[in-house]
């Protein structure tokens, strides 16, 4: 396994912490009633964004789903425009029309996320085909959840991408639930077998093993840039909160306590933190990073919230 140096480790942590901080501030403020759109948080699922952020190149493109905050931020999407979008402001990244579920920032290659499950998957394949025709060595991130692999269009897209050897990196973040329904009730065999059936490269990652995923990114990116065709990552991960909204909903009992405890003990921020300290990264250095991120996020959020406040007065 490729060794990750301590500078890289710190950057990975910073990216994950950045996404967590953004999501946390949304969660903390949602009940004020100024963010008035369905909002799917990525808290707990920051590992993929951290790696995407590390390998980001603005000429690589990305499409995503209803749960896209982490992907948008990982691609370097504008933070003020993002917060404005959530607040339904005209200054938002989608002019306020899209809200949390419909984000874009073309400048950094984040082409769009939409809320119809599996909707952007073929769009990503089309983007990849355009890159191929152009003779570019860039590729397209196609983010999706395990639920989206149930739609026919996912398989049609895999088929097409393989047929034309298109540079698509399908990243399936498998949090084992589609809203409240566990994967065991929805799937009867492994995604691996289905993907392999298409003759497409497939990587499985479990237990938030970011080190091995790091190596897989290196391998896949080289493969994609060399025009070898599509690649699939299936990454097991965990959403901490309810499917949509700022709260915890574990009182509903649809996820076993054991399952929740397991993932609690594998929180990606804790994993990074433990490894950073083992690597000898100084606590003050980490705290400095954290503070800078918190400051930046808080400032952007407050600016946006103040604008929203002028339009939507506090209900209280």
């Amino acid at each position: 396994m490729k060794k990750i140096d301590s500078d890289t480790l710190l950057t990975l942590y910073e990216s994950a912490f950045y996404v967590r901080t953004v999501e946390q501030i949304i969660a903390d403020n949602y009940s004020k009633g100024l963010i008035r759109c369905p909002t799917h948080l990525s808290i707990g699922q920051e590992m993929v964004p951290a790696l995407v952020s590390h390998f980001n190149n603005n000429n690589d493109l990305a499409v995503s789903t209803h749960r896209a905050h982490g992907h948008y931020l990982a691609k370097g999407g504008s933070l003020p425009l993002f917060f404005d979008e959530l607040h339904g402001l005209k200054s938002g990244c989608s002019a306020g029309n899209g809200g949390s579920m419909h984000l874009n920032d073309k400048k950094v290659g984040f082409i769009g996320s939409t809320a119809i499950v599996a909707n952007t998957i073929p769009v990503g394949v089309g983007l990849a085909q355009s890159l191929k025709i152009d003779g570019s060595n860039n590729f397209v991130y196609i983010f999706l959840g395990d639920g989206a692999t149930e739609e026919g269009v996912f398989y049609e897209s895999l088929h097409y991408a393989k047929l034309y050897s298109l540079p698509c990196l399908f990243i399936i973040e498998n949090n084992e639930f589609s809203v409240y329904t566990p994967i065991q009730l929805r799937h009867s065999n492994e995604l691996k077998d289905k993907v392999n059936g298409f003759g497409i490269q497939y990587v499985f990652n479990d237990n938030h093993n970011y080190r091995s995923l790091y190596g897989d990114f290196l391998k896949a990116i080289e493969y994609l840039r060399n025009g070898n065709g599509p690649f699939v990552f299936e990454v097991m991960t965990h959403r901490h909160r309810e499917h949509c909204g700022p709260n915890y909903d574990d009182e509903l009992g649809y996820r076993e306590k054991e399952f929740l405890d397991k993932w609690e003990s594998m929180d990606i921020l804790d994993i990074f933190m433990k490894d950073m300290l083992l690597e000898g990264i100084k606590q003050v250095k980490i705290s400095n990073s954290q503070n800078k991120i918190i400051e930046r996020v808080t400032k952007a959020f407050e600016d946006s919230q103040n604008l929203a406040n002028q339009i939507i007065p506090d209900p209280t």
Binding site: R36, C37, G96, G98, G99
Partner: protein, 349 residues
């Protein structure tokens, strides 16, 4: 017996599952803790998960699968928590279900396939969670489109879809889910089919509407009454087919009409009715005023400020009617939060 719309739907499904062994309900979320906004409460407990099915997210396949069951004599209810999700299944709805009987020359075949499509509104439902193509669907031969407005019509619509032998789409507006009303199980089971329902009698103006605008029109009618304006109020539940003659007769009496659309105007039910009115020469010649209320053409934004004037309510109906009849305007206070139907709705869906 007073019930919420969601309870009325639940009851109708329960009765069908109980009375017909060969009936099945399928839908994402059907057995999850929220039970499709409570409409499928207790069904899996009573009838088991071979008949109350929590499926994978595969709308187009599910629609064909539901229909395949129907071809073998099953009554099937397939539910989409948003109409927007059913759009993935328009191949099966249009190319298969709507024309199966016709294609094979078997018009008498019994195919009780009910597709429930829930329409969202407010709290930033936006471009992919608030669409409502009921008008288009109602243009498809071979498909019945029912849009209930209260508990009774919701109950009877579900029953129709599961028993009539005609493939049926049920348009269920999210903002009606919590409205409460009486259930009259003894009414003729086809009371809502192919006919208009008259909800108020009046002489000043004729108003037509359907769906979630019905409660708004009722409220407007009550307010207008205080100002000596009486409304002849007609509503439709069956959007595929209704006899317009009571409306034309009413218009010949009042000479004033407002048609209220639940969605945008282009290719809508209301445009269809307008055409029928205009082509009826006797009615056309007698019209003093003709008005339409509809959503502005265009996709829906998630933005609070951008959606402020998108929807109409009883207030717009009252204002519009007063203007139409050259009466003095009255002041009605609008709720600041146009994007929630009431305190009960806390979002997100």
């Amino acid at each position: 017996m007073s019930l919420l719309v969601t309870q009325a739907i639940n009851q109708a499904l329960d009765e069908v599952l109980l009375s017909k062994d060969r009936s099945v309900c399928i839908g994402l979320g059907i057995n999850d803790p929220k039970r499709i906004f409570n409409t499928t409460q207790n069904l899996v407990e009573k009838y088991g998960n071979t008949r109350v099915i929590e499926p994978p997210t595969s709308e187009n396949a599910l629609t064909g699968i539901a229909f395949g069951l129907c071809l073998r004599g099953y009554s099937v209810c397939l539910t989409h928590q948003r109409l927007d999700f059913s759009l993935l299944s328009f191949d099966q709805i249009i190319n298969t279900i709507s024309k199966w009987k016709f294609m094979f020359g078997e018009e008498k075949q019994e195919l009780s396939c009910l597709i429930r499509m829930i329409v969202g509104r407010g709290w930033g439902q936006g471009p992919t969670h608030s669409q409502s193509y009921h008008s288009f669907l109602s243009s498809l031969p071979g498909l019945k489109v029912l849009y209930p407005f209260d508990s009774d019509s919701a109950y009877h619509s579900v029953k129709y879809g599961m028993n009539s032998g005609n493939p049926t789409v049920l348009i269920e507006h999210r903002w009606l889910h919590n409205s409460i009303g009486d259930l009259d199980k003894k009414t003729s089971k086809n009371k809502y089919i192919s006919s208009l329902i008259k909800l108020a009698a009046g002489t000043s103006i004729t108003i037509f509407t359907y769906g979630y605008m019905v409660p708004e029109a009722i409220k407007a009618t009550e307010i207008l009454k205080e100002y000596n304006i009486s409304v002849d109020l007609f509503v439709a539940v069956d959007l595929s087919d209704f006899d317009l003659s009571p409306l034309l007769e009413s218009l010949n009496k009042t000479n004033n009409i407002t048609l209220i659309e639940c969605y945008t105007l282009k290719c809508s039910i209301v445009n269809d009715i307008s055409t029928k009115i205009i082509t009826d020469k006797k009615t056309r010649l007698g019209i003093d005023s003709f008005n339409i209320l509809a959503l502005e053409q265009g996709h829906e934004s998630t933005s609070f400020s951008k959606t402020k004037t998108r929807y109409n309510s009883y207030i717009e109906i009252v204002e519009n009617t007063l203007r139409q009849l050259n009466k003095e305007q009255i002041y009605l206070k609008k709720s600041y939060y146009h994007d929630i139907p009431g305190e009960w709705f806390k979002g997100p869906f």
